[in-house]
Amino acid sequence: MHIQGLYKHFFSSGSRVEVFRDFSMQLPDQEITAVLGPSGCGKTTLLNILAGFVVPDSGSIEGMPGTISYLFQEPRLLPWRTVERNISIVLEHHIADAARRRESVDHYLALVGLQEFAQAYPHELSGGMRQRASIARAFACPSRMLLMDEPFQALDLDLKISLVEAFTSLWEEDPKTAVFVTHDIQEALLVADSVAVFSKAPARELTRIPVPGRRKQRSLTDSALTAAEQEIVSVLLGR
């Protein structure tokens, strides 16, 4: 996927803020591209443009698929529907047969370890379990693109690691072209194929660092990953 010549500005308390000025970016198919950068640099605006929530002033996005999935910071489940219903609603357009829809929901709930909670309402689950359900929903939807806005953020470390593992195994089963916005370098290194570092607004891609090693075998103590981490930090700090 290719983003080219993107322009977008906002007015914030009376003054004009240029978020993108002739911005271009390459998103390799079926790879996870993490986006790091200072806050306010346009990471979330990029997701909002790709999602269609925000219309750019100009620019083109080539190869944008029709169906997308989105992992938000919050799970965004319907509080009045069971976990199972939350996922099957998304499938109604794609799978007409109710029995096959059910099978698909069961499959994804099993993959995130929630099969026993299919009939629970979101408020009956813990925060981590709710985010698992939203990951199951994102993958159950047969989309070719996945947008991620810090979905592992609001959790403590061991929850985060187990959630990242659940995410990774789902993604390996069905690789979608993904944009992963985060401000956690280690998270980016565990999940992504490459890390794009953005400048302050107007955003530019300062560098793109490929993440070494097979996703499932990565460890944060690995010397290859620590070297990549050093590099990212030095770019972020402008040294």
Partner: protein, 265 residues
């Protein structure tokens, strides 16, 4: 030290019981000093009410009032609900109906009843007045409910391409349900009062208000109070009905115990 403790809920219930008893006792004491025409004793009023229960006349009146109340209420639910959804979703609709709603809300009940009596037959007046007084309450609540529909969920619905039908039944309707319920609850409470008032003024053949009016003409204060008791009980019964309905319509609000498994986080 006493050896037992009460839960907060039963303590509250005990207080309500005690204050009700105190109120009735006060009424009883006051009634000792004046004639029955001014204030009959609680025992006499309750006795009169008990006697109602074996009279077919009572059930005719009750039935007529309940029918009028329900007709007016359903009208205000339907029209108020549709208007509330439209006004909550479309600012122009809200601007269009705002003056009407303000005028209706500020108009004295009695003006509406008197005007309605010029326009309609006596049996229709309570329905019309009840509807007119209650529908702004429904509209107001539903309008706020529509505005409180979580934007985060609407964004999610856009991503996953919810159809209009899916958006309405899975997001908008469930999120306005609590507002609709509380609006409908106040609307029905108001409807009973307005219907009885309209019956008092227009005196249709049957009705709690009509019976109250006859009793008042005869200076039968005991009967006036016994009919008042009937109206109060009607109101309380409809509140109870709404409590039940709220539980039925919102099963997700019930607290359930899950056999939590430590495996999943």
């Amino acid at each position: 030290m006493t050896g037992f403790t009460l839960s907060a809920r039963s303590r509250r219930f005990a207080v309500v019981l005690l204050s009700s008893a105190a109120l009735i006792a006060l009424w009883g004491i006051a009634s000792l000093f004046v004639s029955d025409i001014i204030l009959p004793s609680p025992r006499r009023v309750i006795g009169e009410f008990a006697a109602f229960l074996s009279r077919p006349q009572f059930y005719l009146a009750l039935q007529a009032t309940v029918r009028r109340g329900i007709e007016g209420f359903l009208l205000s639910l339907l029209i108020g609900g549709v208007l509330g959804i439209a006004a909550g979703g479309i600012p122009a609709v809200e601007a269009l109906f705002r003056p009407l709603l303000s005028v209706v809300k500020a108009t004295p009940v009695m003006s509406i009843i008197l005007l309605a009596f010029i326009w309609f037959r006596s049996g229709t007046v309570p329905v019309f007045a009840g509807f007119l007084m209650a529908f702004p309450v429904v509209t107001q609540n539903v309008m706020i409910g529509v505005r409180e529909v979580p934007n985060q969920l609407l964004e999610m619905a856009r991503i996953y391409r919810f159809s209009f039908r899916q958006r309405f039944f899975h997001i908008i309707l469930p999120s306005i349900t609590p507002f609709l319920l509380s609006g409908a609850r106040s609307a029905l409470g108001l409807t009973w009062k307005v219907v009885v008032a309209a019956e008092v003024l227009t005196v249709p053949r049957h009705g709690i208000g009509s019976s109250m009016q006859f009793a008042q003409i005869n200076l039968d204060t005991t009967q006036v109070l016994a009919w008042t008791l009937a109206a109060i009980l009607l109101s309380a019964a409809s509140e109870l009905l709404f409590d039940l309905l709220a539980g039925l319509l919102q099963p997700y609000k019930r607290r359930r115990r899950l056999h939590a498994h430590s495996g999943a986080v």
